[in-house]
Subunit: 545 residues, 2 copies
């Protein structure tokens, strides 16, 4: 970045600060300084590819492709490549970092440049299918194919882009007929800020649970960079929803609380001038929030994350410092709840992105009510821990009123299921959020969750993000066996399909599900799917027996 741009950005910021009122005033600067102060050092590890593979069509495999071993990697290093033209290599694990390779002539002087296309895949299909058909919803530049000109040989080439991958397809697009060459010394300088070694699960634990835990730890580790990223391939940045679940996982594994602290400060420092949190922060080249990205429940989940952080660390100083932010987010509920205690769904939808899940047909009125109650309750607990309950003295009454409203307006006593006032869709999300918010009793929750499995046309979860809340709701209702079974079936299902890290989107019945209508752009190492780590370690009596 040029100095002039930095200077312009600074000017814009100063201008805004001068003419608009900034809710947090001088706190903001100090919060950003603290975020910088707690920025973790990355651990760099040199990783080498293990073998040459073929990615072959296979109807039985995930997304209809599988990797088949061809030969050890050394076979490539001595192979004249000019007529070979294409090869795929396998690092044997998911990596996030900088890839480099070397080229050398097999004998004759290299008289002309080489041109390669390198395609990086977290899963086999990514290096097999064409990216050409992607109609941009997200930037096509997230897809990890790079074209490289190597203007002289021998040379070592390091791609300037940080990549997330296990497989690399190397295609030769240009070469001189006057010499042949080897590709050799391929490596990835892999990076993560996860430096602690999580405690091992006891040997006696079910092997599948151990596998799920291992893949969950890998997922979290790969997403732990200088922030908790949502995914190291895409979007490579901090989202509050991912932060919430990553911090949960971290609390029970790596226990690197400074990273959570950094993220909490970063989000606070980059909140909008009215004091509301933006859902996502981009770190490079200078940290800033994504404008206009107000995501309703993510702003509220910040408070829950802060409370969890306090419980895990006892760091009163930080949490008191950030308490004004949590307190302000409560206004999101206060200003959007109707007199009858129901959230004003139509109004919220106008001002906020209401997410909950990548599930286009999900009707979100009930989850909105649920997450709002959940956030108020957790925020009140936070206030109590800080001795600040007087500052939010309206919360208990407000919470009760909203619970009553939910029970009165959203609960079908006959079916035992919660449905909206505007749409009678029966969804997992609705039941889950009514349970997590304590609108239901344990028994009612159990009934609702059980009913889901025998009801037709249910809207089921589309992502591990929603599935996390499903597992939690099962546990909250005392459905421990079902919780374990669901966790093993869902996350174990990804492992059975070859996952090295857990995915952004997973539907056991559809390998090609994609929030972006193009499954190769999905993130296959996605933070919000790491939470088996949390469940397995928080509830050993359920998952380790």
């Amino acid at each position: 970045m040029t100095k002039s741009i930095l200077f312009s950005l600074t000017l814009v910021f100063i201008t805004i600060a001068c003419f608009a009122q900034d809710y947090y005033g001088n706190n903001r600067k100090q919060w950003l300084q603290k975020a910088e102060q707690y920025k973790p050092k990355l651990i760099i590890t040199e990783k080498k590819p293990l073998k040459v593979v073929d990615i072959v069509p296979d109807t039985q495999s995930f997304q209809k492709y599988k990797a088949v071993d061809v030969s050890p990697i050394d076979s490539l290093y001595s192979m004249p490549f000019r007529l070979k033209k294409e090869i795929t290599i396998d690092f044997g694990e998911h990596l996030t970092g900088y890839f480099s390779f070397s080229v050398r002539s097999t004998g004759l002087a290299a008289d002309g440049p080489l041109r390669f296309k390198l395609t990086f895949g977290e899963v086999p299909s990514e290096v097999a299918v064409s990216f050409d058909s992607y109609k941009e919803g997200l930037s096509r530049a997230w897809l990890q194919d790079e074209v490289v000109s190597v203007m002289y040989v021998p040379q070592t080439v390091t791609l300037p882009r940080r990549l997330a991958f296990r497989y690399i397809k190397i295609e030769l697009l240009g070469s001189s007929p006057y010499y042949d060459f080897n590709i050799h010394d391929m490596k990835c300088m892999a990076q993560t800020s996860a430096k602690n070694i999580p405690e091992e699960l006891p040997q006696a634990v079910d092997p599948m649970i151990r596998k799920i835990d291992r893949v969950g730890l890998n997922t979290l580790k790969e997403c732990m960079q200088t922030v908790y990223e949502d995914g190291p391939k895409r979007d490579q940045r901090l989202w509050i929803g991912d932060l919430y679940l990553e911090a949960l996982g971290n609390n029970y594994s790596y226990k690197q609380y400074d990273l959570t602290k950094r993220c909490l400060y970063l989000l606070a420092g980059l909140s909008d001038l009215n004091g509301y949190l933006l859902a996502t922060v981009i770190e490079n080249p200078v940290p800033r929030a994504q404008d206009k990205q107000f995501l309703y429940e993510y702003a509220l989940l910040y408070n829950v994350t802060l409370k969890d952080y306090l419980e895990a660390t006892g760091d009163m100083e930080t949490v008191k410092d950030l308490w004004p932010v949590a307190k302000k987010q409560l206004d999101i509920v206060r200003t959007n709840v109707k007199a009858n205690g129901l959230m004003d769904f139509e109004k919220v939808k106008k001002d906020w992105w209401v997410f909950f899940d990548w599930k286009e047909d999900l009707y979100k009125e009930v989850p909105l009510q649920g997450v709002s109650i959940f956030a108020l309750k957790e925020s009140y607990k936070l206030a109590q821990l800080l001795g600040k309950e007087k500052e939010v003295a309206d919360l208990p009454a407000l919470t009760n009123k909203m619970i009553k409203a939910a029970r009165k307006n959203l609960y079908n006593r006959k079916t035992g299921l919660f449905v909206g006032t505007g749409d009678k869709q029966i969804s997992y999300a609705s039941q889950i959020w009514m349970i997590l918010s304590g609108v239901t009793s344990k028994a009612e929750g159990k009934k609702a969750l059980s009913a889901l499995t025998t009801t037709q046309d249910v809207c089921y979860p589309g992502t591990p993000y929603m599935y996390h809340y499903y597992i939690q709701s099962l546990i909250d209702c005392g459905m421990n066996l079902e919780a374990k079974e669901a966790l093993v079936n869902y996350w174990g299902g990804m492992i059975a399909k070859g996952a090295d890290t857990f995915w952004e989107a997973y539907d056991p019945t559809n390998d090609f599900i994609s929030p972006y209508d193009f499954y190769p752009i999905n993130s296959y190492c996605h933070a919000w799917s790491c939470t088996p780590v949390y469940f397995i370690r928080k509830y050993p009596e359920i998952f380790q027996k």
Copy 2:
């Protein structure tokens, strides 16, 4: 390049040196050191694009495309680019160097990466036609299209590849729908080792001659890098044939004799173990000759270049140092001449690449005889200048014998034209080399050259390289008017078609001529076409009147 590769190369070299006899022994090391010592410093100049252009189809224009002005460059810098998607810019002149550009958001935080394709063209057609159809003869990687991922915004991107271009087409291949951006601050850090300012031609000189001279100087300047390159786009390296003509041009313009000296030393230092010169040298990552690239007349033209260098500089020390190389090259003629004084064309063809021109159908027996005699004569002159004629005492008799053999076997007295013994093709090349070698009298030469213009099925020159020798032969025969007319028609013809620098291949009747069956891979700034600079300035009485 890694140290281990450098070490391996050194080992190979030492091994060869230990087990094979090296004709030049210890001289080689010292020659390479001197080549390094005279490596010129590059002059770097920041250049900015002038305007936005459209490259539009136009049947009247060179290669059926022309650049049409659209707007000043500033209009681009303030233009939101996301929906614009494609633009072409014009630097207004041919440049060789490193291109960079910056991107910045138009306002909203940039939340995703950008992907661009940048295509660099020396001529308009290069940025208009697709490169996909190129069937590799040379490396496709020479074609100057680069795909660039810009992982965060704002950012300044510098392409790692040195490029040669006037036009750049920028295509947006990927962007996020959540922000727009500007491209701005485009520049090229242009480089050349030409630092001297050649003398201006008098104002009274014919404007077309002045234009040709200016474009010739630009061509030479762009090719003057750390060696005399053949072309800064392709092959970016030193060939003896190009060196010969560039040094001629340099002697009458930039007068940077150290560059000639460096190239002479480099070629000597990298000659093969038997003492024969290889035709071409690649500088990076470590200087080395292209193996097996023995080009008959290029090896001999080294001697002529050395003689010209001595005449231009009086640098006896260098030329005496390199005299063993020139002396050894004479064996190429001695070992390939038959008892009757004719070159053994069939034998030479087996061991050497006989080039003369990019002209597939050219029959090369007569030019081979001619260039051999020419080289012997020039080498003898060199020996005389050094006082070494006793070391090559056989040359005068050998030369005479070969001239007589040519007149006896290759001359058709009736037509006044030279033709081969194996093929009766009438070519410019045959007449030209018989004249340059002094096989003909002036009158005979004039008759031959004149006859060419009225004879059917003549093989005419395919490149400015051959055309250089044509102009010289016209001058040598006293056909001054014809020389001027030919120079103006041929090189002026390129200017009329829009040339900023002179081209590798030019046929006034065919814009699509290509030695590689794909005209976009032609070099459009090619050293061997710079020699109008030499003619105009060496022969002011012909060209400046």
